[in-house]
Symmetry: C2
Subunit: 214 residues, 2 copies
C-alpha cells in the first residue's frame, strides 16, 4: 500500500510558518526564509518549470523525494490561505498559478464542498470534505503504487500524526529562528513517539527522517 | 579569549524541559527522555564517576566537548530548580551530590548573594549576582584558556544569545516530542541569526553546531 510521507521544512525553533501570515506573506514574518534551501535547487526549479539551479546532496534528496511521490494531501490553509466558504476566499485557485508544480492529483482537506479544479501540466485539485481518512484513501488510490506526500500545514499534519496514519516523517530543519507562528507539532507531545531513521546533513539544512516508534 | 559555547539537548519540538517540572522530576513530564542519549555513553559515565558505557560517534563528540571546557556558566534554576532566597530553597546544594561532574569552576547566575560552595573532585560553585557579563568574565578568567560552557537553562541561554555573547551553539536534537514546557529559544526569533557549521548524525540524536551569522 502507498506510504503516507510527511515532507515539510521546519525552523530550528519548531515553526513551519512565522507570525502573522497574510495573502502577501503567506508564510508569515520571516517565513520565506524557510524555503530558501530548496528554491535554489535544480530539482525544485525543474518541478516549477525553471532552468538551472544547484546540484549536490540536497538536490539528490529532493529528486529522490519528488520522484517517489504520485499523489499529495494538504490542508485548505496550505492550498489558499483562506477559510470559510470558497466564494469568500480571495485566493480560491491556490498559490501556484496555471501550472502548479505537482503534476499529479492533489487532495485538499476542507469543510466546504467544491468541484475539482483541473490545472495545466497534470495537476488536479480534489476537495475532500469527509475527513482525513477519506482524503488518504483517495490519494492512495490515485497514487497507484507510488507514495502519498503529506505537505502540510501543521494542523493537518497533527491530525494525521495523532491518528497514527503517517508512515514516514521527513523534516528539513533550517538554521532559522522565527520566534513564533505555526508550530509543526503543537501540543502533540507524548501522543506520538518517533524513531530516527536517517540524517542527511548539508551546509544550510539538516534532513531528518523518522518513523513511528514500534 | 575563551569561547562561550552553548551545549544543550533539545526535543524535536524545541523544548529543553517538559511541562510541570518538580523537585522529583526537574526536567518536567517526559523530560528525562531528553538525556537518555548521553547518560549511556562512556564519556558521560566517566565524568560522573561510573564505569562502562557505550563508545562510538556520540561518545567521541561528548569527549571532545567535555575535554575543551574549563569553566561553566548556568542559571539558578538549572543549579537547584529553586528561586528566591536561598534559605527557602529546598535544594540549595544543587542536583549533583557531593562530587558533581564538573570538576572545575561553575558560575551560577542568581539574584541572591551567597558564599561559594566547594565540593569534592574540584567543583566550585560561585554565585554571581551582578549579571551575565560578569559571570562570563569570571568564567573566562577561571577557564584560563579553555572554553566556557553555557549549560542552561533556557532563560539564561536567551539572555546570552540576545546580548550576542555566545560564540558557538551546540544543540543535540533528540527525536522526542514534549508538547510543551521550556522552549529553548522562546521568542528570540529574528533577534539572532545563525549559521550552521557542523552536523554530526547518529542513530538516536543529531548534533547541530551553529555560530552567529556574520
Amino acid at each position: 500500500m502507498a506510504r503516507l510521507k510527511l515532507d515539510i521544512t521546519m525552523s530550528l525553533d519548531g515553526y513551519v510558518a512565522g507570525p502573522s501570515p497574510t495573502l502577501e506573506e503567506p508564510l508569515g514574518q520571516g517565513g520565506e526564509g524557510l524555503h530558501e534551501w530548496v528554491t535554489r535547487l535544480a530539482a525544485w526549479r525543474e518541478q516549477h518549470g525553471l532552468e538551472g539551479g544547484e546540484t549536490g546532496p540536497d538536490n539528490a534528496l529532493v529528486e529522490e523525494t519528488v520522484g517517489a511521490v504520485d499523489a499529495w494531501v494538504m490542508g485548505r490553509r496550505m492550498f489558499s490561505g483562506g477559510e470559510g466558504p470558497w466564494e469568500d476566499d480571495p485566493n480560491p485557485d491556490g498559490w501556484w498559478g496555471d501550472e502548479p508544480p505537482f503534476h499529479g492529483p492533489v487532495f485538499v482537506l476542507t469543510s466546504h464542498a467544491r468541484e475539482p479544479l483541473i490545472k495545466s501540466g497534470g495537476t488536479t485539485f480534489t476537495f475532500v470534505t469527509d475527513g482525513i481518512e477519506s482524503a488518504l484513501e483517495q490519494a492512495r488510490a490515485a497514487a497507484d503504487g507510488g507514495d502519498v506526500q503529506l505537505s502540510g500545514g501543521a494542523s493537518v499534519v497533527q491530525q494525521y500524526a495523532r491518528a497514527g496514519l503517517i508512515d514516514e516523517y521527513q523534516i528539513h530543519v533550517v538554521p532559522l529562528l522565527l520566534g513564533g507562528g505555526t508550530s509543526l507539532f503543537g501540543a502533540l507531545g507524548d501522543q506520538i513517539a518517533l524513531e530516527q531513521t536517517r540524517v542527511v546533513p548539508s551546509d544550510v539544512v539538516t534532513h531528518l527522517s523518522f518513523v513511528p516508534a514500534s
